[in-house]
Amino acid sequence: MKKVFKRASLTLLIGALASSVANAEALRLLTWGGYAPDEVVAQFEKETGIDVEVTKSNNEDMISKLRATGGSGFDLAQPSQDRVTSAQADFNIYKPIDLSKIDADKFIPSMLEATRKNTQLDGKVYGVPHVWGTSGLIVNRKSAPAVADYTDLCAAGLNGDVSYRLKRPTLIGFAFAMGEDPFSAYNDKNKYQAILNKVEEKLISCKGAVKTYWSGGDDLLNLIRSGEVKAAMAWDSGGWKLNSEIPDVTFVAPKSGALGWIDTFALPRKTKAEDAAYKWINFVMRPEIAAKITESAGNFTASKGSDEYVNATLKKQFQESFSAQAVDNIKWYPPVPPGLEEMEGKVLDRVKAARL
């Protein structure tokens, strides 16, 4: 308890310090690893004279950080699009985006439109798309050739050989692989609970196959590199990164569909450098800059025409993992209605606590 508290107060303290130190010409960016590579930051600083302070984070951490400060401490955040509206409704941590300040012609129109729709709350838009990618399977084709869908992760013969996260994507993935459609049950809590119960039972019976539940991307990559884990549920970019090192390992789009996410740009409610934030958004959406982010993050962006600048290896890896059919089969996360995450949380806790 003390530790958690220390963490929380430390975050507050650092936030307070950062906000007092930061002057008008600094952009405090709360983002994912790889989304703001040094090269891009340096170029932006040279062009605009604005300093960029990058804080690496993840969805839950972003919401927690902004919630603790009421939306201050950062000038631009990058939550996934399905997590924007519920966090906004519950904690009021974001500020609507002024779409007129965004260069819409730099975006792939269909993605801009989809994100606009998905991050809308009370008629206001809270997000524009940036990086997109999928979760699916990273498989060592030599030692676990049979793994083709999420549920194959607990097939007989895999004993302590697989890994996945105890987070919501795992629940959703398993639900799809078990023939359910969790997204269509989002607004029917009873139905959703029934699906969750099925998945819970499955995940508990699968515990024997699991080596450990991973929590950090680098942990997982190490587990696969060393050969200790033969198949895992993870992000596509991790699979391609490993594929460049170990040809046997690659990302596989699961039979029941990879899970698609889009990370957005959202303005924290008490952002102090709004202009700088818009400048950053318009800067990174330039095709040649977006391509650099694709290289560093391993995922493609919503920038129109940036594909041409991306190196051939990544494009080849993408095509190898995703046939045209698999692309159509990607299940895009719709916005999460409030209340669901609590239900999911209990399931995840019970899976973690269960013993065979």
Binding site: M1, V4, E60, A87, K167, Y213, G345
Partner: protein, 286 residues
């Protein structure tokens, strides 16, 4: 004038610690207690409720996690005591000259690196492709790689290792104050080794044993890193539960309630321990 001076000086000296206690310990706890007593009705509105506390007792998962954490912490404390007592006895009573500070230093050295680094060290040693597994295979004692991580026993090893110093220090200082002539007298009167230990050494060292146990128990119960990293898929530790509620579930209310419950229940366990060992808190901590 003099008492006034004295009071002013005392107040001045106490200010930092009082500020520390109120601002960083008492106030956050009061705030946490208040947060724990509310419930989110809908977005942005909260109402007073005991539900976060009742959830702890009605949802078997939370209750069992706490029991598991408490039982494993008690076991870790007992193990630490068992291992640390002979070491402390040797340092305080048997070792002479420069050997003493040297041995003490050896106990201290692992604490010069952070807990995180030590825990990762254990992971490198114990993982399936790790040092120990490779060594066993090289010796031909096992056929294939052995996984030694991600088990309760591993958590226990990590916990005992992490708390060793906090048991050794109070034990050495109490054993040090035991007059050697008392031990000699006991032997002269014909007592066996066991008798001397039971009737002379242990009663004298009791305050040190109890204070060491309290410190180790509290540290273990509140540990987050070691159980999470070494425990893997089956490690559900109560502090982890609190962290999850705060950070990944955004449920500060439930997390605060767990925090307060951990404080109350662990204090209760310590109190019971003091009762059973017939020690008083003031004596143990002096």
């Amino acid at each position: 004038m003099k008492p006034q001076h004295f009071k002013f000086g005392l107040a001045l000296l106490l200010t930092p610690i009082l500020l520390w206690l109120t601002l960083l310990i008492a106030l956050p706890h009061v705030d946490m207690a208040m947060i724990s007593l509310r419930e989110r009705v809908s977005a942005g509105t909260y109402a007073f409720s005991w539900s976060n506390y009742t959830a702890f007792f009605t949802e078997p998962l939370y209750w069992r996690t706490f029991m598991r954490t408490a039982v494993m912490s008690i076991m870790a404390t007992a193990l630490t005591l068992l291992i640390a007592f002979p070491i402390s006895f040797y340092i305080a009573k048997v070792a002479r000259g420069r050997l003493r500070p040297l041995l003490f230093l050896l106990c201290l050295v692992p604490f010069w690196v952070s807990e995180l680094v030590r825990t990762y060290g254990w992971m490198i040693l114990l993982r399936e492709t790790g040092v120990l597994s490779s060594l066993l295979q090289w010796l031909g004692w096992v056929d294939g790689p052995v996984e030694m991580l991600y088990q309760d026993a591993t958590i226990m090893v990590g916990l005992v290792y992490t708390s060793m110093l906090f048991m050794v220090v109070p034990l050495v200082s109490t054993l040090d104050s035991l007059d050697d002539s008392l031990i000699e007298a006991a032997y002269d009167l014909g007592a066996s080794h066991w008798r001397v230990m039971r009737d002379v050494v242990i009663p004298h060292a009791a305050p040190g044993i109890v204070s060491g146990c309290i410190v180790v128990f509290m540290l273990t119960l509140g540990n987050y890193l070691t159980p999470t990293l070494l425990g893997g898929k089956d490690s559900l530790w109560f502090t982890e539960q609190i962290y999850t509620q705060f950070i990944t579930r955004f449920n500060w209310e439930q997390g605060s309630a767990f925090g307060i419950l951990l404080l109350i229940l662990s204090s209760l366990i310590v109190w019971i321990g003091l009762r059973l060992s017939r020690q008083s808190f003031t004596k143990v901590m002096s």
